[in-house]
Symmetry: C2
Subunit: 442 residues, 2 copies
Amino acid sequence: MSSSALFADLYEFTMLRAYFELGMDAQATFSLFVRNLPPQRNFLIAAGMNDLLDEIENLRFEPPQIDYLASLEFSSKPFLDWLANFRFSGDIYAMREGTPFFENEPIMEVVAPIAEAQLIETLVLNQIGLQTILASKAARVVAAARGRNVVDFGARRAQGIDAANKGARAFYIGGVESTSNVAAGQAYGLPVAGTMAHSFVEACASEMEAFRSFSDVFPDTTLLVDTYDTIDGVKKVVALAKERGANFKVSAVRLDSGDLDALSREARRILDDAGLTNVQIIASGGLDETKIDELTSRDTPIDIFGVGTDMAVSSDAPALDIAYKLTEYAGEGRMKLSIGKRSLPGRKQVFREFRDGVAVRDVITRHSETLAGVPLLQPVMLSGRRGAAQSSDLSQIRAYAKEQLAALPQSLRALPSHERYDVAISDELSKFERETRERLID
Amino acid sequence: MSSSALFADLYEFTMLRAYFELGMDAQATFSLFVRNLPPQRNFLIAAGMNDLLDEIENLRFEPPQIDYLASLEFSSKPFLDWLANFRFSGDIYAMREGTPFFENEPIMEVVAPIAEAQLIETLVLNQIGLQTILASKAARVVAAARGRNVVDFGARRAQGIDAANKGARAFYIGGVESTSNVAAGQAYGLPVAGTMAHSFVEACASEMEAFRSFSDVFPDTTLLVDTYDTIDGVKKVVALAKERGANFKVSAVRLDSGDLDALSREARRILDDAGLTNVQIIASGGLDETKIDELTSRDTPIDIFGVGTDMAVSSDAPALDIAYKLTEYAGEGRMKLSIGKRSLPGRKQVFREFRDGVAVRDVITRHSETLAGVPLLQPVMLSGRRGAAQSSDLSQIRAYAKEQLAALPQSLRALPSHERYDVAISDELSKFERETRERLID
């Protein structure tokens, strides 16, 4: 589990050495937040915390890693000895995975001796950023599907293996039903799905022969019908049903190209006319939430959507303006004043107010305040050990996300939407921000 | 190294079982190619082959993976026994890493018993896609920098750890000078770079104190000057130089916000006026090739660009239309006829013609043809073992990429460019495509 100990920017290590040499070991708070939502997002869904906490709890430097750091010549023997004994001993507060959140809201706060909180910066940003982007994208795709199932087909187009596997997890949190990615299935216990590709059809002597052979091995399979001509492929499925009679168990056909709206209607008609009303239609090929929304708004006969590339990389918003900033050190509020880069000083809390079960407003407060509403930041790690407060059961996280999404105002969940959710800053936090700013400008 | 054995779509395994049950074990060829270049790319740079070949050579199924597959209930004991003994035994032909390439050109061909070539599909697409996207993006950023150094600051914004580490490698191939990512530095022997973040400055009693302390520990460091006010920060560096006299060794200042053009000019003037002409200027913060091009076209005094988010995810083209398609099985050409998804049948070669050292045309041919020009596909794995033909030395790959990029027509390297490079298909391959199509339609 120490694969990630070196996954940090070099400046974390140079700063760590400076803290070490200068005896700077007071308690610090770092806040994780997204400064601006991407243009096409009205909310984001917090995700990735459980995987991250596992990594942090097990963060260790092994001898080859220490040797490598020594080779970089920015270091000293006492500092490297200190690193060799490194354990994360701090506290972490976070929103539950699956919580929708908004601009400038802390989604995680790390309270630890400054070096410990600093070391994990790159890991925290990378890992929470990844799953949050992807869970948020998935929620849009699932909303567009209007109750039809969505399957993750994105492993081949994801940006690397980590993104593919953790993406499958994040998509599941966002409401996707299953994944084609077997490694992710094993890692996270996700439902996996998939049947055949064009190559199988092409390798057989004919499409008909391919359908016969494949359904001999897997009677209740899905048959891919667009290798040569989609409608012709559907007719072969009908022919197969006639050949097999009561032994015909094929559960679905898959369309992967062309005009999915027209082809799915024609396929449905042909299947229904042959009495194959139980055979479902799966569609894939270049789908995103906009295309799915178009299809479902016209009441498409497609039952299941396979979504790859566009969801896999969140193509319309592939990165977040996510920041992990020092907000307190040695008991004093800290912030930078750089142009366009506001950060709120001190430890904080976020209260979400509901009215008739609908979220109406969030208020970002100082940590010590108690306001009306649900406090979203909860302890998830204390003294370097994971707490029991945050469930790591993925089905529970998914159910929680679904419930919390349903509690957002309907106008905010539409795609596209130009609604903005109301996020306020408490008077006390505003006052503290002003005081901190004035202290720094002096 | 067997971490990736399950990194496949479930349909690879169901098809493998079908091939196994049906006795389909003839030789197949799969071709890897990009169907359409992204709108803002005139060429792509092949990358990721060496990492991929390592994975393929070591692909094994361990007992926990076999157990997991057994639990999915699509399987059979004889099939799982066969998987437990799986070794990739095929041949692979590929373009050298660092080779620029174009639409529809095979960049890799896998020749193996069909099950073996099929199993690696997802891994091949994901891994070559990742490094190719990122190396191609980096080449644009480096071109825009017009000879100034570019440093990869993208680890925190990359889509996961695999993308960050392999991205650092791909950026280096594309011409980037160094990376801030220590894990990538260790994994690939890349030069690493980095010094301090805002948090260090904020944690100290004052910015001046931060500069003093940090340069005590690291005399020739870079100082980050924009935590509170950029120009004020630069003036403090000048004050530090006066305090330290001959002991002042600070090598650079870094600007991370605001109007980088105006601020860098003002910073240069202040530094030069103080006789600090050797202190370089590093700029970072939301940079991409367009912004860098604007800066360098106005002869900016910035010496080094730190580039993060935009390069890390290739934000304007985060995925490729990359495909891995069966083109031959049991000695016969194979292809699909799906709408808009052309694939060229059979084993192939690509010849690149040069005139006066400039690439003027590529011709995609059948494997057996010999044309004028340089044949770009070379054997890199034979009978499952890596050949010596493809260098895995990263400096050599980088130098080769630089040389091959320099040999592209100047018009093609401009950003933006609407030039198209000439890619032809040989008469013999066209004839074979036609014949294969006719055979399939019959």
